[in-house]
Symmetry: C2
Subunit: 346 residues, 2 copies
C-alpha cells in the first residue's frame, strides 16, 4: 500500500514535524510503500530519498539538492525536461502546528483532490485555536475548564484566581505557555505568550490534576480507540521535553484506571470525533477532576501519530486509509445563465 508522509512546514513546530516523520517512518515502513514529501519554510516541496530521512538532512539544507515537487490537481508533480511525472498517492499529513494543523494543508489537499489522512479544514481550525475549541466542546456537550481571553492590546486585568496558566491561543507543544503563581510573574508570562500570538487564553492551574490521553480514529462510523495513557509529566511539558516526546515509538502501559473512567473518556472522545474529525487520527488530552472528565486539548495531528498508544499502529493506519471521507462534489449546471441568456434572446 502506497503512502506519502508530508512533513515540515513554516511553523514553530517545523523541527518536531521532522522528528515525528522519522519516527513514523520506522513504524510504517515494513507494511507500506512509503515516500516522503518535505515542505520547507518557504513552502517549496521536495521528495526526500528514504535513506536521507535524518534530521541533519534538513538542518544542513541538503533537501534542496533533491527533487522538487509541485502540488497540482490529483497529486504532487515532478517536472523535468522531458515532461512531468505525477505522484498521485494518498498523503499522511504530519505537519504539526501552523500550515498542517491550521487548515491550510487540508484546504490544499482537498482542493486538488488528493486523498489524505489528517483533520479537514474545519476540524483543523476548531482545534488549532484554543478559543474556538472551547466553543466547539461546549456545543457537543464536552466539559472544559473555564477560561478568559486576552488580546495583545487589552488592559492586563485578569479575573482568574492565582495560580493560572497562560497559553497562546494558536500554538501547540507548550510553546509560550507559563504558569503564573503571583502578580509579579504576570507581565513576563504575558510578554512571552504575546511573542507567539496576539490572543492568549488564561485558565485556572490545578496542581497535581490527573491527566489522561486517549487517541483514536473513525472508520465507517466506528472508532478504534488507543489505550488510555497517564502521561509522565513535569509540572507541565516544556518544549524540549515534548520535543523528545515526538520521537516516541516504544509502547506504553495502559493507565491504571477504572472501566467507568475509560467509558467516560471514550464517550467524550466520540462526541468530539464524529463527524468533524473524520479522516484523522487524533489524540485528546483530558483532565479528571472530582470524577468528571474535562477536555484539555485536541491534537488533530498528534506527535508521531501517537503510534505508541496503539497495539497495531500500522493496521490502524491501513484501516483509516481505506475509509477516508469523500468530499461532496458539486457539478455546475449553468441553468441560470442559460435562462438569462434565453430571456435576453442571445
Amino acid at each position: 500500500m502506497k503512502l506519502a508522509i508530508l512533513f515540515g512546514g513554516a511553523s514553530y513546530e517545523h523541527e518536531i514535524s521532522i522528528v515525528s516523520a522519522i519516527t513514523v517512518k520506522g513504524k510504517l515502513e515494513s507494511t507500506f510503500d512509503l515516500s516522503f514529501i518535505f515542505c520547507d519554510q518557504d513552502h517549496s516541496f521536495y521528495l526526500i530519498e528514504p535513506s536521507k530521512m535524518k534530521a541533519i538532512t534538513f538542518s544542513r539544507n541538503e533537501h534542496k539538492k533533491m527533487t522538487q515537487l509541485f502540488i497540482t490537481n490529483g497529486g504532487f508533480e515532478q517536472r523535468g525536461l522531458f515532461g512531468s511525472k505525477k505522484h498521485d498517492i494518498a498523503i499522511l499529513n504530519l505537519i504539526h502546528g501552523g500550515d498542517g494543523e491550521d487548515g491550510t494543508i487540508a484546504s490544499m489537499l482537498d482542493f486538488f483532490h488528493i486523498p489524505f489522512i489528517g483533520p479537514r479544514k474545519e476540524a483543523s481550525l476548531l482545534s488549532f485555536d484554543k478559543h474556538y475549541t472551547k466553543w466547539f466542546a461546549q456545543s457537543v456537550g464536552v466539559k472544559m475548564l473555564p477560561y478568559e481571553i486576552l488580546h495583545k492590546n487589552d488592559p492586563r486585568t485578569i479575573n482568574t484566581a492565582y495560580p493560572f496558566i497562560i497559553k497562546p491561543a494558536r500554538l501547540g507543544s507548550s510553546i509560550g505557555v507559563s504558569i503564573v503563581r503571583e502578580a509579579s510573574e504576570l507581565d513576563y508570562a504575558l510578554d512571552v505568550a504575546f511573542e507567539f500570538d496576539s490572543v492568549v487564553l488564561i485558565e485556572p492551574f490545578i496542581a497535581g490534576v490527573k491527566e489522561y490521553n486517549l487517541a483514536g480514529f473513525g472508520a465507517r462510523g466506528e472508532i478504534t480507540y488507543s489505550i488510555v495513557e497517564e502521561p509522565q509529566k513535569a509540572e507541565f511539558l516544556d518544549f524540549e521535553k515534548k520535543y523528545l516526546d515526538f520521537s516516541r515509538s516504544g509502547s506504553v502501559e495502559h493507565a491504571a484506571v477504572s472501566d467507568a473512567l475509560v467509558t467516560q473518556l471514550r464517550e467524550s472522545f466520540a462526541k468530539i470525533y464524529f463527524p468533524l474529525f473524520e479522516g484523522a487520527l487524533i489524540r485528546c488530552d483530558f483532565f479528571e477532576i472530582e470524577g468528571e472528565v474535562y477536555l484539555n486539548e485536541i491534537n488533530p495531528i498528534p506527535g508521531s501519530m501517537a503510534n505508541y498508544l496503539f497495539d497495531n499502529f500500522s493496521g490502524g493506519i491501513q484501516k483509516l486509509l481505506g475509509a477516508l471521507p469523500d468530499k461532496k462534489s458539486i457539478r455546475v449546471k449553468y441553468d441560470y445563465i442559460h435562462s438569462i441568456s434565453q430571456a435576453k434572446g442571445k
Copy 2:
C-alpha cells in the same frame, strides 16, 4: 495598478460568481489594469481574455480553449514549451460560496505568498458556517437572533415557535432556505435544507422586520463604511432574485435612518471587522428590532463586492489593496536538531 479577479469555483454559487466578476469588471476597468482568472468546477484555472468576460463563455465551455494557469509560489503560472511565465499580481477573490468563502482559496493564496483582497481563512470559516458565526458574534458582543441546530439524523423536534426560518448552515444566497409557518410544512423544508448541508439552523421568523445592509473595509486601522441600505425585499430573497442582485452596479439611496442607528450599525460592524476580517471588503446584514441592532449574516465576499453601496468603489479597492495584512513569517532555526545532534556526537 494591476489586479486579477479570481472567480468561479466548485460551489452552488459558481454562476453568481461569474455574474459578480462581470459586474466588477465594469466598475474597475477604467482605474485598474485587470486580468481575469477563472476556476472551473474541476479546480483548473484559466486566464480569460477580457473581451470574453461574458456568461456564455463559461456555460459553453469556451474557457477550456484559453490559457491554463497553475497556482504556485508567488503567483499563477502559465506554462509553455519554452518555459513558464508567472503572473505575480494581487488577486481579488470573487469566488462566492464554497472554495472562495470557506477558507480554501484564502489558505492557498496565503500559502503561496500571493497578496489578495478577501477574507483570510479564519474569517472565512467563522462567517461561512452560520453556526460558528453565532459563536463569534457572541464573543465580540454583537447580538444575533436565538437559534437551534439540527443535524441530518437528529429527531425532527423543534423548540422554536412558528413561524421560523430554516437555513443550511453553510450556504449563502438563500439557497435551501425556507420559512415554516406550521407543522405540515416542516418536513419538506427540512428535506430541502438537508439536500445542501447536513447541519441546519432554525431561527424565529419575524415578519416585516427592518433590515439594513452596511458594507466596509479596513485599511491601517480605520474602516471606510458604505452607505446604509434598506434592501428591497420580497419576504426574503429567493435565489433567482438574489442572482440578479449580483449584477447590481447602479448606486443606491441611503436608507432614511437616524444618525443614532447608523452609529449603532457601524459600531457592530467594527466589532466584527477588526482584526478578523482585515484584508477583506465585507457586507454585514443587520436586523433592527425594538431599537436594537442584530447581526443577520456576514458576507465576506459580497455580491459584486457591494460596489453599489460605495461612492468611490474603485478608490476604495485601491485603498484596501495598499493596506493588505502581512502574514507573519516564521523562520526555522533548527536549534533543537543541532543540540540533539551535538548531544549524540553526530
